[in-house]
Amino acid sequence: MITALWALGALALVFGAILGYAAIRFKVEADPLVDQIDDILPQTQCGQCGYPGCRPYAEAIAGGDIITKCPPGGEATIKKLADLMGVSLDSLDQTQNKQEKRVAYIREEDCIGCTKCIQACPVDAIVGASKQMHTILSNECTGCDLCVEPCPVNCIEMRPVQTTAERWKWDLQSIPVHVVEVK
């Protein structure tokens, strides 16, 4: 009896030690939740969620904030976040729809070269210098609107992104019959 207890105890100790060692030695570095959330967010850095950038909001979500505060991300982002966080989509307010994608545009004739928008741009998508006309790299613009407010002459406006043939989405409704008038 005693022998059996000893044997079992010794085995338990040995396996415990092996498992404990393995837990430390072969620890899998899981992608932290904040990083996963940050990857889902659209990285516009617009601050519309009330946090100064996407990562702070990701941290806030990880800390328990609601997931529907990201207008640029729209429904798709909310859906992904809901999947990740294990939140039911039904319980969420889904009134926020993804807006038309827009980018900032500087009316160059009105620009006075104050550099205020450059300082505001979170992704350095505005090119210009003091007393020189500025312009926006529309490919880099995230459409965050942050440059619109600081402009003292209101020369920045948000324009919808031009659809190109590459970006064109087949529209099921538009494909069927077209009446073509031929002279």
């Binding site: 990285q43 996407c54 659809t163 190109t164 043939a165 099921l172 494909i175 019959v177 031929v182 002279k183």
Partner: protein, 866 residues
């Protein structure tokens, strides 16, 4: 078992999964010759007609261009130029609906033909001597892009660096209606073979396989004749099956090889070129005709004369149609490309481009519009029809659900959008459209993800940059501050050095003659006073004048001031001591103690680092004070002289430590001078009726001077000026009071003033030591009190003040200086204000305020009894 190559050689062909057999309807046009048409009124030449980037625009509006002239330049590898299809004028460069399912406007050159068909100079390439790069460049410069439908730049495919096993010429033309390649082969098989030869020269394949569907017997025959005698060139007639013309399907049929998902044929050693491309290459290389026209099948039952046309690129579709007898039906449909993979045109102005092989103008009966979409019945017909072994049904569900992960898992990206699944679907579900939408969505999502990644990177980079800039700024500020401090220290050092130089210069310049002159001046002063006193006792202004002049002189010679300062302090003490010695002995003791105290504080503060010396000085001061007291008690004139002599000595003993401790010799000289002056003063005092008066008179400049060394030791010029002003004010006051009366009260008040001045001023010197300042303030307060009490007691008990007249006269004398007293009062806090250390500024201010109050009280008190 024979090898793959042997099997191919033996003429074996394979099959691929699925596929359909739609009615071919090719006979409408396949037997007809290729026609041409009159030049259209305008050509709309899109700047980009291939996959890749547009070239750089070379022409501008109004330019006249020749046939075959390049309109854009190919600046990079993925760009091919476009050319003027005929000679004419560029009338506009604008946006025009594009030959794309979206028909989105794209930039086009609008060419108005002049009808002359003037060619630019053409130079055929000498194939015997041309190297590979030259041929490839020619192919690129001719603007040749895949003419089968995709529009991939041909020079990239033809310039593949990898070893090529098979060159496959795609002449399958599997879609219904289209016969462009068919008729091309029928009529231009020799040129096509020349093109294939150029391609083989570039790629050096093991074998050339020409795949033609067996419903084109004329084309097969023509090609077989053209390639006759060529080693390892095989014309393969393939049984009709849609979509055999798909690149990967054709490879599978001819070589039994499958191109892996996401790879290109070149990865398995195969290059596929369209037969039309081979024709265009031959024309470009051998005749220098760039890609400016192509064969287009114009077909459909809405046309009375359907046929193949040599269409100039840029010809609007409606021009081609009208050349073929187009009779539009109500709600006519136009299709560009084949009925399976083409797209409906929303606009008949859309131009023919490099990839346009067919334009269909069907009637409703011919190609009925798809009926309403019904629900999927899960029949599985689509799965059987799919040439790439996908599961169209699954893809449909996932497309509808927008489940991108599952779509990718089911290899949606491998779908070639052939439309076989939709063709067989009994529910008429436009499956391919769903897939296209889903593909576009996935592409967009990927683009967004990429953009988000870039935005994140840019955001991070910006944050990093801002942080770095902040740090750099801080670093720079720190450096600047250090620099400034260094500069300040240097400045201070320099100023100290300058001050030292000044004192040295002053002492060396003080020659015997100067001393004599000084002595003479003093004598003259004394005489002036005497004369003034004798002339009129009330006339203060007159008597004030010489002193003023004396002050002026003192002002003129600032260097003398330094020496005078030393004298001054000593004299002030002497005046105090002597003045009080004459009055009651007790008073003399207390008043004498005051300067002694003041002196003990002074060395400490100004040369605080030398505590020992200060202590010694204090001891000496105490001893001297005692002596002064004793001499006061003695009351004899001779003893007084001794005290007078002792007092300057006292001043001198202290001074070496405080002001010019580093220069003992100089101090000794100054002391000697001081002693000499004191003796003189004593002598003059003795000569005069009252010795005290002389003392006070000498005390006046002395007072002013006491301030000066301190001020000069501090680096502030302003302070010095202010101090000088104070000194002058004090001197005047002292003079006035001294002149007015020889009473001891006067002397006491005057003595109190320097005492105050002395106690306050050290504070400014020892600015960095708050404790010391506080102590000094306390001492100042104590002294002020003492001075006050002394004057009070004097006013009350002093026998010399028994006569009420002198105080009255005194008050008169004091009164005029009151306005002058004000500068003094204002000036007294000055040293405090100049106090560099701001933290004990408050303390100093309080002390100054107290001192001022006390001084006022002291000034008022003697007046009150009157």
């Amino acid at each position: 078992m024979p090898s793959l190559f042997q099997q191919i050689q033996a003429g074996r062909i394979w099959d691929f999964h699925g596929g359909i057999h739609p009615p071919s309807r090719k006979t409408q046009t396949s037997q007809k010759p290729i026609d041409s048409y009159s030049l259209p009124a305008r050509l709309y030449i899109p700047q980009r007609q291939h996959i890749g980037v547009a070239g750089r625009v070379l022409v501008k509006v109004g330019d006249h261009v020749l046939k075959g002239q390049a309109l854009t330049a190919a600046d990079n590898a993925m760009a091919v130029p476009v050319h003027a299809p005929t000679s004419g004028t560029i009338v506009d460069i604008c946006l025009h609906p594009s030959a794309h399912p979206s028909a989105l406007p794209e930039p086009v050159f609008v060419l108005e033909p002049d009808g002359l068909e003037q060619w630019r100079p053409r130079h055929a390439l000498d194939m015997l001597h041309a190297d590979k790069a030259q041929i490839l460049q020619r192919i690129q410069q001719a603007g040749i892009a895949g003419m089968g439908g995709a529009g991939f730049p041909s020079h990239i495919k033809a310039g593949a660096a990898a070893a090529v096993d098979y060159l496959i010429i795609n002449a399958v033309e599997c879609e219904p209606y289209i016969t462009a390649d068919d008729v091309l082969m029928q009529h231009h098989s020799d040129t096509i073979v020349q093109g294939i030869e150029i391609l083989s020269q570039l790629l050096q394949p093991k074998a050339v396989l020409i795949g033609i569907e067996d419903d084109k017997p004329a084309a097969i025959k023509a090609m077989q004749q053209a390639v006759a005698g060529k080693n390892h060139w095989f014309v393969r007639a393939l049984p009709v099956k849609y979509p055999s013309g798909g690149e990967k399907q054709l490879i599978q049929r001819l070589t039994n090889k499958e191109v892996p998902s996401g790879r290109r044929p070149i990865d398995i050693g195969i290059v596929v070129q369209n037969v039309g491309t081979a024709f265009a290459i031959a024309q470009a290389v051998l005749e220098d005709i760039p890609l400016i026209s192509r064969v287009v099948t114009v077909v459909g039952q809405s046309l009375s004369r359907p046929q193949n046309m040599y269409a100039l690129l840029g010809t609007p579709v409606h021009e081609l149609l009208s050349a073929c007898g187009f009779e539009p039906q109500p709600s006519q449909r136009l299709i560009m490309g084949g009925p399976m993979m083409g797209f409906t045109l929303p606009d008949a102005r859309i131009p023919v481009v490099k990839t346009t092989n067919c334009i269909i103008a069907p009637t409703h009966e011919e190609l009925p519009v798809a009926g309403p979409e019904l629900d999927c019945i899960r029949c599985g017909a689509c799965t059987e029809a799919c040439p790439v072994n996908l599961l169209p049904q699954q893809l449909l569900w996932y497309s509808k659900a927008k489940d991108h992960t599952q779509l990718q898992a089911h290899n949606l990206q491998d779908c070639i959008e052939c439309g076989a699944c939709a063709y067989v679907c009994p529910s008429e579900i436009p499956l391919v459209h769903y897939y296209r939408v889903a593909k576009a969505d996935i592409r967009e999502t990927q683009r967004e993800a990429l953009k988000a990644e870039q935005a994140k990177a840019r955001f991070e980079a910006r944050k990093e940059r801002l942080e770095r800039e902040k740090q750099e700024r801080a670093e720079r500020n720190k450096q600047l501050a250090a620099q400034r401090q260094q500069q300040l220290a240097d400045q201070q050092k320099q100023q100290i050095a300058e001050a030292q130089a000044r004192t040295q210069a002053a002492t060396t310049e003080l020659t015997h003659a100067e001393i004599v002159a000084e002595r003479e001046r003093k004598k003259a002063e004394a005489r002036a006073y005497q004369a003034a006193k004798l002339a009129a006792e009330q006339d203060i202004i007159q008597s004030a004048e010489p002193t003023l002049s004396a002050d002026d002189r003192a002002e003129q010679d600032p260097r003398k001031a330094a020496i005078a300062a030393a004298l001054a302090r000593a004299k002030a003490k002497k005046a105090q001591a002597s003045g009080e010695a004459e009055s009651t002995s007790v008073e003399a003791a207390t008043v004498a103690a005051a300067p002694a105290l003041g002196n003990t504080v002074e060395p400490q503060s100004s040369s605080s680092d030398d505590a020992k010396k200060a202590a010694v000085a204090a001891a000496i001061a105490r001893a001297k004070a005692k002596k002064a007291q004793a001499s006061g008690e003695a009351e004899s004139t001779s003893v007084e002289a001794a005290t007078v002599a002792a007092a300057p000595a006292l001043g001198n003993t202290v001074e070496p430590h405080s002001s010019s401790s580093d220069d003992a010799k100089k101090a000794a000289v100054a002391a000697a001078i001081a002693r000499a002056k004191a003796k003189k003063a004593q002598a003059s005092g003795e000569a005069e009726s009252t010795s005290v008066e002389a003392a006070t008179v000498t005390a006046a400049p002395a007072l002013g001077n006491t301030v000066e060394p301190q001020s000069s030791s501090s680096d502030d010029a302003k302070k010095a000026a202010v101090a000088a002003a104070i000194a002058r004010a004090k001197a005047k006051k002292a003079q006035a009071s001294g002149e007015a009366e020889s009473t001891s009260v006067e002397a006491a008040t005057v003595a109190a003033a320097p005492a105050l001045g002395n106690t306050v001023e050290p504070q400014s010197c020892s600015s960095d030591d708050a404790k010391k300042a506080a102590v000094a303030a306390a001492i100042a307060r104590a002294k002020a009190k003492k001075a006050q009490s002394a004057s009070n007691s004097e006013a009350a008990t002093d026998p010399t003040q028994a006569d009420s007249e002198p105080p009255l006269a005194d008050s008169d004398a004091v009164l005029p200086p009151v306005p002058q007293d004000e500068p003094q009062v204002v000036a007294q806090p000055e040293p405090v204000a100049a106090n560099p250390s701001a933290e004990d500024a408050k303390k100093a201010a309080i002390a100054a305020a107290i001192a001022r109050a006390k001084a006022k009280k002291a000034a008022q008190n003697p007046q009150e009894p009157s």
